[in-house]
Amino acid sequence: MTLFSADEPAAVRRVSLVKLSVEVARAIAPIGRIVVDGEVHRPTRGIRGAIYFTLKDRAAQISVACPSARAARCRAVAGERVSVTGTLSWTPDRGQLSLVADEVVPVGAGAIAAMITDARRALAADGLLDRPRKPLPRLPAVIGVICGSDAAVRADIESVVAVRFPGYPVEFTEVTVSGSGAVDQISGALAWLDARPEVEVIVLARGGGDATQLLPFSEESLCRAMCRSSTPVVAAIGHEGDRPLCDEVADARFGTPSLAAAAVVPSRDELLVELDRLAVAAESVMLQRLALVEARLAGVDRDAAVLAGVSVAERALERGGLRLARVDPAGRIGALAARLDGQRQRMEALSPARVLERGYAVVRTATGEVVRRADQVGQGDKVAVELAAGRLAATVDEVTGG
C-alpha cells in the first residue's frame, strides 16, 4: 500500500514519520533524470567544493546541490538563467527535497557569453590559450573523428575522403554533441582515441546550431580535455562564423567539418606531384653542380691543374705527417674525374631534358602546376607548354575526358 496511489480512497490515515519519509523517497524515484530551467538564487559553496543554490521560477523553487565531483560542470551565478540536469533526492533527516545536479549550464545569449568569458579567462590563466600547437601529420595512419549521430557531418567528411584519398582510414566515434552529457561523452571519446597509437589526428566535428546547442564546445572542461590530448586535435564546429571556445585551444581550427577533412585527409594526387617535384628538383640541382664542375675542368689546363693540385696536396699531407697518399696522387685525381663522368652520364639519362628531346612536352597551369589530367584545366585557361628548346604560351580550346 502506498500513500500516493491514485486509486486509493481519500481517507485520513495515521502513518509514522519514517513511513512517510520512505514513501516520499519511493514516490520521487520513478521521475528519473530531468532537465529543469530556472534562475539561480543565493549560490553558496560548501567546504569540500560542492555548490548549493535555489533554482527559482516565478511561481516555484527548489534547492539544488552540485556534488564537488560535478562542481566543475556546474555554473551557478546569482541571477543567471540556467538549465539544470540531475535527479531528485529526498533527505529524510532534514525533510528536504532537492535536485542533485550533474550539470548546470547557462541559458540565453548573455549568460552564455558570460560563461565563455569566464572559461576563457581560466584557460588563459593556465597558459592553455597560447601553449604551443602540435603540427598536423601529413600522412596520419588513422584519422579519428568525433561527431554527432546525424548523418550530415559524417557524409561531408566521407565525400572529402572519396575525392582526396579514396578509402583513407577514418574512424568515426558518434557521441551526443549538444545538451546534457555532451561534454562528458566528447571528453571520453577524446581520451579513448588519444590512447590509441594508430590514431594520429583527431577531428572534433559538429554541424551548425544556436548558441545553446554549441555550448558544450565552449565549456572549460572540454577545452581542458582537448589540451590534455597528446594527439593533435582539430576543431570543426558549426558553420563559418561560429567561434566556440574550443577553437581557441585546438591545434588547428576550421570553419566547417569539410574544410577540416580537407586539411587532415592527404590528397594522394598532390602527394605524388610533390614527390615528383622533389625528385626533379634534386636531379636538376645535381645536374647543375656537375655542369659547373665540368666547365671548370674544361677551362683549365689539365696538366697544370693536376700539378698544382698535387703540390698543394703534398704540402698539406706533409704538414699532417701523412706520407701514404704521395704514392700516386695523379692517379687519384684521374679516378675522381672518371667517377664524375660516370655520374653525369647516369644523371643525364634520367634528366627531364632528355625526355623533352624525344618530342614530349610539359604542360603547366598558370600557377605552375603540371597538368596530368584534362579536368585540371578549363576552357579558356592559359597554359604554358615547355619544349626541349623554348616554351609556348597557349590557351585551352576544348577539354575532353579527364
Partner: protein
C-alpha cells in the same frame, strides 16, 4: 653527416619530405664539394624511395581493407 645513419623508419612522412628539401638546398649551395653533393644526391634518392614506399604502404593497407 650526422643524420646519415638514422633509419628512415623513424622519420615521419613529413620529415622525409623536409629532409629531401633540405638536401636539395644543400646541394644547391656552392660551399660543398662535388663529392659531397653526389653523396647527398644518393641519399636524396633513398629518401624519395622511402617516401614513395610510405605512400604505397597506405594504399596497400586501403586495398587490403577493401578486399577484406
Amino acid at each position: 653527416m650526422a643524420d646519415a645513419e638514422q633509419s628512415f623508419d623513424e622519420l615521419t612522412f613529413e620529415q622525409l619530405l623536409a629532409s629531401l628539401e633540405q638536401l636539395t638546398e644543400r646541394m644547391a649551395t656552392g660551399n660543398i664539394g662535388i663529392e659531397e653533393a653526389a653523396a647527398l644526391y644518393e641519399r636524396a634518392g633513398e629518401l624519395h624511395a622511402a617516401a614513395t614506399a610510405r605512400l604505397a604502404a597506405v594504399q596497400a593497407r586501403i586495398d587490403k581493407l577493401r578486399g577484406a
